[in-house]
Structures are given as structure tokens and as C-alpha cells.
């Protein structure tokens, strides 16, 4: 039985190897490592690094055919021997990095692999990580001052995600608030003001998920069938909505959609309020999610609560044992119940 299961798994993996990326059938990364170990110097193919430091120095077919005199087909060499997206990534790096190969030729004594150490591990990651730069360059002052533009130009326009600091992996939508709390100034290196305001702004015109409806992978709290789920999610995490929305947000939306605001009937179930203790589910629910109550009953709606819960009222004190507040009794909301000059 076990053998059969292993066989099925192996067959499935073999059948799906291409889809899973286990076997590559399309363009392959250029075999830099193979060339380096064969003793081909980098500048033999990447000519003109010193003369024209701002170009990409991508070898053309002529550079390949100086050695590979009999190409196996008539197509462009880089058409097959370049990882997908590698050239675009290179062009983006050239456009957004302040870097000059010519200036690095002398200090590295022509040894490109002093920086391009990734070649030793394979052909996929040839661009040196930022830590490699810091091995020689002292950028402490620039880094501490968040002056990323000493090396990076127009980071806001790149599609790069940080890998060596504040890596945006995992469930970044949930994590970002905690991680950004101590690194808010780093965020501004790449993100414009509107990036935060798109979700956290009070004047957002429409939900981010609605505005980016054609991008199903864009992270958003309000994605997909949020309208259906929102009451379940709000009650399962009381206060989560209040971290962004003001308490009147619920009532405003429900009233405009005709779901609430009807003064003739109560949205609460039977047994919500009553003289018997068993009939007072509202107290437990109010403690559990006071923001939900506030969404309808704040302001003028408070009179419903005060009628019973004022000092001496039949509702008793709404405060829990050990309650304290630094507000004076004459201030809101204390004075609503503690009338007559501060009766406790």
C-alpha cells in the first residue's frame, strides 16, 4: 500500500514537474557559473564596462559566436539562455541604482566575483545583495538618515521589494502595522503618502479592492465577498473596524442602504433588554463590543442607555469592578449619568 502511494506521488510529481517549476522547459538562466569555472573572464563577453558605465553591457550574439562558432540554431542566443524577466530586472536596476562598474574595476582588481558571489551558488541570483556593498562602503550615516537616494534613484517607481530589511514576505497585510511601527521612516523611502492614505485615509473614495478589482492578488482587508462576511468578522474581532473607521461609519452605511435607521423597529433579538437578568443580553454584548453599540447609539442615541443606567436608575452601574477614569465628572461622558454636581 505504501509503495503504491509513493508510486502515485512520484508519477504525479513527474506529470506536474513542469507546472511546479521542478523542470524548466522554457528559457534557462544564462550559465554564468559554467563560463566562470571554464576560465572565461567576465569582460570578454561584457565588453565596455569601463568605457560606457551607464549601458547594460548585455552581450549580443556576436559575442557568443566568437567562441561558439557553430550555434545550434539560428535564434538569438539570449532568447533561450536568459532567465525570464532577467533582462527587465537588469534594466530596472540600471535605471534606479547609482552605480558605476568602471569605478569598481580597479578596487576589485578585475575580479567581478568579489561582488557577484551568487555565481558560486548558481545562475539565478547574480545581482549582489545590499549587504555586499556594505562590506566595503560605509553607508551607516546615509542609512541612519534614511538617505536611500545616495544609491537608489526613484525607489517609488521600482517593483523591487526589500529582502535584507523589512522583508515584505508572509502575511504582510496583517504584519505591516506592527513592523512599520518602529520603521515608519523606512517606509517613506519607497512609498508615497497616497500609499498609506489609500487604505487609512478618511476621504477614501472607494474601497481599495473595488478600485483594483482587476488585480485579485492585491492585498486588501475588504477583498472578495467582504460585504457578506463583514458582520461575522466585525463581531469576531471587536474593535478591529474602529482602528480605521469612526464609530458612526456603520450607521452611516447601514442607513444609506436602508438596513438600519428605521426608528419603528429594533434590530435586536427578543430578550435584548428586559427587567429580568436573563433578559439582559444587551449588557454582555455591549461589554464585548462597545464599538458596535456606539455605531448607532452614540450621540443622541445615548439617551436610551442613560434612561436606565444613570445614577439611581433601574439599570444599575454599567462600570465593571475597579473602574477608573481620569476624566472629571463634569466632562463627557461622565456628566450624562452623574448629574447634580458630581453625584457618584
Amino acid at each position: 500500500m505504501k509503495r503504491r502511494a509513493v508510486l502515485v506521488v512520484c508519477l504525479a510529481l513527474t506529470a506536474c514537474a513542469g507546472v511546479l517549476g521542478l523542470s524548466r522547459s522554457g528559457p534557462q538562466p544564462f550559465p554564468h557559473r559554467k563560463h566562470a569555472t571554464a576560465g572565461v573572464s567576465c569582460t570578454r563577453c561584457h565588453v565596455g564596462l569601463e568605457a560606457a558605465p551607464t549601458t547594460l553591457h548585455i552581450p549580443d550574439d556576436a559575442a557568443c559566436t566568437t567562441c561558439h562558432t557553430k550555434p545550434h540554431n539560428q535564434g538569438s542566443c539570449l532568447g533561450c539562455h536568459t532567465a525570464p524577466g532577467a533582462l527587465a530586472e537588469l534594466a530596472e536596476a540600471r535605471a534606479h541604482l547609482v552605480f558605476d562598474h568602471a569605478k569598481h574595476a580597479a578596487p576589485s582588481r578585475g575580479d567581478c566575483m568579489r561582488c557577484h558571489v551568487g555565481i558560486a551558488e548558481g545562475d539565478d541570483h547574480l545581482r549582489p545583495p545590499m549587504a555586499t556593498c556594505f562590506r566595503c562602503h560605509d553607508h551607516d550615516a546615509a542609512r541612519d538618515a534614511r538617505r536611500c537616494d545616495a544609491c537608489h534613484r526613484g525607489l517609488e517607481d521600482t517593483r523591487l521589494l526589500p529582502r535584507s530589511h523589512l522583508a515584505h514576505d508572509g502575511d504582510w497585510l496583517r504584519e505591516h502595522g506592527t513592523r512599520a511601527a518602529a520603521s515608519g521612516d523606512s517606509c517613506q523611502s519607497c512609498h508615497r503618502e497616497s500609499f498609506c492614505a489609500d487604505c487609512h485615509g478618511k476621504t477614501v473614495p472607494a474601497l481599495p479592492a473595488t478600485r483594483r478589482f482587476a488585480d485579485p492578488f492585491a492585498a486588501s482587508v475588504h477583498r472578495a465577498g467582504f460585504t457578506a462576511r463583514h458582520s461575522l468578522e466585525a463581531r469576531s474581532e471587536p474593535g478591529a473596524c474602529a482602528t480605521c473607521h469612526s464609530p458612526d461609519r456603520c450607521a452611516a452605511c447601514h442607513t444609506s442602504r436602508g438596513i438600519a435607521g428605521d426608528q419603528r423597529r429594533s434590530p435586536h433579538p427578543p430578550g435584548w433588554v428586559g427587567p429580568a437578568a436573563a433578559d439582559n443580553e444587551h449588557g454582555r454584548q455591549a461589554r464585548r463590543d462597545p464599538a458596535a453599540c456606539a455605531s448607532c447609539h452614540d450621540g443622541a442615541g445615548q439617551s436610551l442607555c442613560i434612561g436606565c443606567h444613570k445614577v439611581g436608575g433601574v439599570g444599575g452601574t454599567p462600570h465593571p469592578p475597579g473602574w477608573s477614569s481620569k476624566l472629571p465628572l463634569g466632562a463627557l461622558p461622565c456628566r450624562l449619568c452623574h448629574t447634580a454636581g458630581g453625584t457618584r
Binding site: 541612519d144 508572509g170 462597545p290 456606539a294
Partner: protein, 386 residues
């Protein structure tokens, strides 16, 4: 004030001859509210130390025509990066304290000993372009110390008043650290000073290896401390909502990621497990085409639910892309509004780098609508690199 800021922003960007002025216009129309929306974005820089940005929109929302400013801000910074400032309308996020959308000013100053001070002051944004508003203001400050490469720690204080009445007063403590290349730690705590008590705590710790990332998280939130201090509902005491769990992300094949988020929620006396299992398969090396599938068990007490979601994005020739999303939510408890809520969206998009267009059909059944079908359309244009 908004007019003044518009003039200031335009004055700053008009000098940005050397750098491209980036513009973007987007039109969105749906058969549901908002029926129509036009958004204009602009930003530019007059050198490395001065930049400006604005996002304004107008549209017909919920049967009324409206318009507003999302962001309009000018940012300036000294050449050595020691001091920086912002003026205008922006979102201010001060360490562990909740982000606040304000019309105001903010500044940051780096001091010796790797210390930094940041502060802001302004009027909390009220939606609408009406000039009449209550006399409300907010101010706050944070002092932090960088720990070199490892991270930083900070303490923040903020206060908000409306007509002189204290609406919110909070103290925040935050810490973040990158312990080598593999481990990250972040924590924040917000303490309500108006009604003494912990308003919010969040802790996250992650470890990554070549194909595996593990994260432990914990959150604690007390709704009564997130309400304005003037609200009657702040006097009910602390019944926090808590959540803890672990997320494991495993790249089990070069194009396949498996993600499992397992944990528990607690609200009052109710405790419930939560589980999310998600798979993402990239159909090409760049991930422009991909499939995701997700199963979810969530909620607490009488609000538990089970959900399934599938998403597909297929890149087509000529800069086209087809997307489809399906979601099914099954609530454990039928409150008379049905307990099975399907949702689906099919879209066709086109993006050639300058122009962007998309059209979609969205269909759903929810507690609000027995069945609903909406059509969404979008057209955008960019000028300058973005």
C-alpha cells in the same frame, strides 16, 4: 486651507523641471455605488530634498455628487537627512499609535546618539470639502533610538481634542529588530491614558530559511479604549479580543507555495480555533499567471464560519489578462438572512504601461442582497514613469 495647500503643492512641482512630473488619471464606473469616480494623482520632485504629491477625486457616490482630497502634501528634507518635514493632508503614523489622517504639519529631527524626534500637529480630516467643521485638533510626538542594523525602539504620545474636550490620549511603545538575515521581531503597545488601560498590543516574530518561513503572532485589542473618550461606551470596561497563532509559508516547489495559518481567537468567554490553508501556484516564472486556493475556518462564538476561495489570473497576449475569483462563505448560524453566501468576479484587463483598462462582472448573494449583479469598468492613463 486646502486651497492654500493646492497652490503650495503646484508651486513646488512647477519647479520640478529636472525630474519628471508624474500624473495619473483613473475613471471607475460601477452599476452599484459609487456609480462613477474620477481620480487624479500627481507628484513631482524639485530635487532630492523637495517633493509634492496630490490625489483628488470626484464622483457620484450614493446618489450624491461629491469630491474630496485624499492627499495633498509637500515634503522637504535637508541634504544630510537630519531634518525633514511635511505639510498638507497626509496620514500620520506615530509608532505604536493608530494612523491618523490630518491636515497639518509633521517634522522629524535626527539627534546625536542615534536618537530621533518626530512630531505632528493638525486637524483630523473630516470627509467633504465643506469649510464648516468642529474645533478639533490632534498632536503627538515620538522619540526613538536606532539600534544600528538591528532595529529601533520608540515611545510615542498623542492627544486629540474636540471643542477642547479630550477625545483621545494615548501612549505607545514600539520595538522592531532584525536579528540577522533570518529573524525579525516587531512589537507595539498602545496604552489609553484617558481611561487607563491597554488599548492594543501586537507582537510578531518570524524566522525564515531557504524554503520555509515561520511566524508567530499575538494581538490584543480592547474596543472600549479605541472609542473617543467622550463616548458613553468607553465606561463599560475591558473585554479584549485576542488572537494568537502561527503562520508557516513553505515554498514546496519553485512555483508552488503552501501557507498554513493556525491559531485561536478569544472574545470575552468565547474561544475558537481558526485555520487558513492556502496554496498558490505560479503558472510562469514571473508569476504573472497564477492560481490560488484557500480554505478557511474563522470566527468566534455565534459568528463562526467556513469559507473557500479560488482565484485565477491568466496573462493573455497583447497585454491582456483574464482574472476570476470565486468565494463561498457558509455561516454556522442562520440569522434569517441565509447562511450560504457565494461571491464571484470575472474580469478582463489590459495594461500597456501607459493605458490601463478593465471590465468586470461581479455577482453575489449576501445577507444584504438575495442576489446582486454589478458591472465594473475602469480606464486609466499614466504620464511619466510610475
Amino acid at each position: 486651507m486646502s486651497r492654500l495647500l493646492v497652490v503650495a503643492a503646484l508651486a513646488a512641482t512647477s519647479r520640478a523641471d529636472a525630474d519628471p512630473l508624474r500624473l495619473r488619471a483613473d475613471a471607475l464606473t460601477t452599476t452599484a455605488a459609487p456609480a462613477g469616480l474620477l481620480t487624479l494623482e500627481a507628484d513631482g520632485a524639485a530635487g532630492p530634498g523637495l517633493s509634492a504629491e496630490a490625489v483628488v477625486w470626484t464622483g457620484r457616490l450614493a446618489e450624491e455628487s461629491r469630491g474630496d482630497v485624499l492627499v495633498i502634501a509637500v515634503r522637504a528634507r535637508t541634504a544630510d537627512g537630519r531634518a525633514s518635514g511635511r505639510v498638507g493632508r497626509f496620514v500620520e503614523s506615530l509608532g505604536a499609535l493608530r494612523p491618523l489622517h490630518v491636515d497639518g504639519v509633521a517634522g522629524r529631527l535626527r539627534l546625536p546618539l542615534q536618537l530621533a524626534v518626530e512630531t505632528y500637529g493638525g486637524i483630523p480630516v473630516v470627509p467633504g470639502l465643506a469649510t464648516a467643521r468642529s474645533w478639533s485638533w490632534a498632536t503627538g510626538a515620538r522619540i526613538s533610538r536606532s539600534l544600528g542594523d538591528a532595529g529601533s525602539i520608540g515611545v510615542a504620545y498623542a492627544q486629540q481634542r474636540d471643542d477642547g474636550r479630550l477625545v483621545s490620549e494615548e501612549l505607545g511603545v514600539d520595538a522592531g529588530a532584525a536579528l540577522g538575515r533570518r529573524d525579525d521581531l516587531g512589537a507595539k503597545l498602545a496604552y489609553d491614558l484617558a481611561n487607563p488601560g491597554i488599548a492594543e498590543v501586537a507582537v510578531t516574530a518570524s524566522h525564515r530559511s531557504k524554503a520555509l518561513r515561520t511566524e508567530l503572532y499575538l494581538s490584543h485589542r480592547a474596543a472600549s479604549h479605541l472609542l473617543p473618550a467622550t463616548s458613553l461606551f468607553t465606561v463599560l470596561g475591558d473585554v479584549p479580543a485576542e488572537r494568537a497563532g502561527a503562520v508557516v509559508t513553505w515554498r514546496c516547489a519553485p512555483r508552488l507555495d503552501l501557507i498554513a495559518d493556525l491559531g485561536a481567537r478569544r472574545v470575552d468567554r468565547d474561544v475558537a480555533p481558526q485555520a487558513i490553508v492556502r496554496a498558490r501556484l505560479r503558472l510562469d516564472d514571473l508569476g504573472t499567471s497564477a492560481l490560488t486556493g484557500e480554505l478557511r475556518r474563522d470566527g468566534v462564538g455565534p459568528d463562526t464560519w467556513t469559507g473557500a476561495r479560488g482565484t485565477a489570473r491568466i496573462a493573455l497576449p497583447h497585454s491582456l489578462a483574464a482574472t476570476a475569483e470565486l468565494e463561498l462563505v457558509i455561516a454556522d448560524r442562520d440569522r434569517g438572512l441565509g447562511a450560504v453566501w457565494p461571491w464571484g468576479l470575472a474580469a478582463l484587463g489590459w495594461d500597456d504601461g501607459t493605458w490601463q483598462a478593465a471590465i468586470a462582472v461581479e455577482a453575489s448573494a449576501s445577507p444584504q442582497d438575495r442576489h446582486r449583479v454589478d458591472v465594473l469598468g475602469q480606464l486609466g492613463r499614466r504620464w511619466g514613469s510610475r
